[in-house]
């Protein structure tokens, strides 16, 4: 009878139970490999690990919320700190001279890229006020994705709660930018889609559903790309144990190196696509001066 380790409840579980079911006579612990994907309350660093002490649950409006720091929350905060340090140091350097040098030059490449290739073509000049938001989205997701590729790192974007939060922020910003640009009544009129009045009962639910599916797609795309990449890496690493010989080991390791390089590309592309799609959706709601409003 084949022994399969007990599968976890759901890949989307943020914090699994602390007792991990161990396969009874497997040569290697499948669940130990999977632990790299899931959220956990222990942080690993070279030389050991640290069990993060949990905060006591907080009661808000009848819900019991656990605000304690887990591995993915730690990397969220780490990415935020890194981004803040990066942006503040680069902006300080730019204040000194108009022509940036060194580190500020690198950051300016990203800023100019976002402004000229992402914000201006999609939102026009009316959208330049949202450049900081798109830039923050891009750089934050990029840093989170890259942290997942570091040794002892975990990508917070591999957790669906994190990407859901990012998509929620993007969703709110898309609606706010549309309301700001068109006015609330015109924004509501947008849901009819410009069809005849007797088609409104069909059109309005579809349009309302449409704004939610856009945000949901943003969430799922980022989550699945990041966690899927890590699953592939871990699956290939499992081949090392399948080979049971040190002479076979270089083959999976070479595959893993190649997949890691692909994951580096995917990290950049997914951050760019998230920022670009947010800009596109925001641009759909901002009336353009040259050729009238972008329709549906």
């Amino acid at each position: 009878m084949t022994q399969t380790p007990a599968p976890p409840d759901s890949l989307l579980t943020t914090v699994p139970s602390d007792t991990v079911a161990v396969a009874e006579h497997a040569e290697f612990d499948f669940n130990h490999l999977l632990e790299h994907l899931y959220d956990s309350r222990t942080l690993e660093y070279p030389g050991g690990h640290w069990d993060i002490p949990p905060f006591s649950p907080v009661q808000i409006a009848g819900l019991t919320i656990d605000f304690s720091v887990t591995k993915h929350v730690f990397f969220l905060l780490l990415a935020a700190v890194l981004l803040t340090l990066t942006a503040v140091s680069a902006s300080k350097k730019i204040r000194k001279s108009v022509v940036p040098t060194g580190f500020a030059n690198l950051i300016e490449v990203f800023v100019v890229f976002i402004r000229d290739e992402v914000v201006l073509p999609t939102m026009g000049h009316a959208g330049l006020r949202y450049t900081p938001f798109i830039l923050t989205t891009f750089l934050y997701i990029l840093i989170m994705n890259l942290l997942g590729l570091m040794p002892f790192g975990a990508s917070a974007t591999g957790n669906i709660s994190v990407t859901a939060g990012l998509a929620l922020v993007a969703f709110v910003m898309i609606q706010i930018s549309a309301i700001r640009a068109q006015g609330f009544t015109h924004y509501l009129a947008h849901f009819t889609g410009g069809v005849a009045w007797w088609l409104w009962p069909i059109m309005i639910p579809i349009e309302v559903l449409g704004i939610f599916t856009k945000a949901f797609a943003l969430c799922m795309r980022l989550f699945a790309n990041m966690s899927g990449g890590h699953i592939v890496i871990l699956a290939l690493l499992g081949f090392v144990f399948l080979g049971q010989s040190i002479f076979f080991a270089p083959v999976p390791v070479l595959f893993v190196v190649a997949i890691n390089l692909l994951e580096l590309l995917v990290a950049f592309i997914q951050a760019y696509v998230f920022a670009m799609l947010t800009a596109v959706f925001m641009g759909l709601g901002i009336p353009q001066e040259e050729h009238g409003e972008h329709g549906h």
Binding site: M1, T4, P7, P8, D9, S10, L11, E117, A217, M220, R221, F223, A224, N225, G228, I269, Q270, Y272, V273, M276, L277
Partner: protein, 84 residues
């Protein structure tokens, strides 16, 4: 009796693995077909008009990411099937 229940449960789960496997195969089929068509159109356009190659490449990457997004929806469902 417990052993019989366990065997029955594992036997029922086999179909979930099969469904996940077949589903993942079909998903990759659709995605590869779509992205292949997209890439061929991009190559043709770049060949005809090399000066727009940059813009074509950008649009190609965006479209590929959108197609992959739909792929990953289906893949997530396959994973849910496999883990049930």
């Amino acid at each position: 009796m417990d052993q019989a229940i366990e065997v029955a449960r594992q036997a029922a789960n086999q179909w979930g693995y099969l469904a996940a496997g077949i589903g993942a195969g079909i998903v990759v089929l659709g995605a590869a077909f779509g992205i292949g068509k997209l890439a061929s159109a991009a190559m043709e356009a770049s060949g005809r008009q090399p000066e727009v190659a940059g813009a074509v490449r950008t649009s190609m990457i965006i479209a590929a990411a959108l197609i992959e997004g739909a792929t990953f929806f289906a893949l997530a469902i396959c994973i849910l099937l496999a883990l049930k």
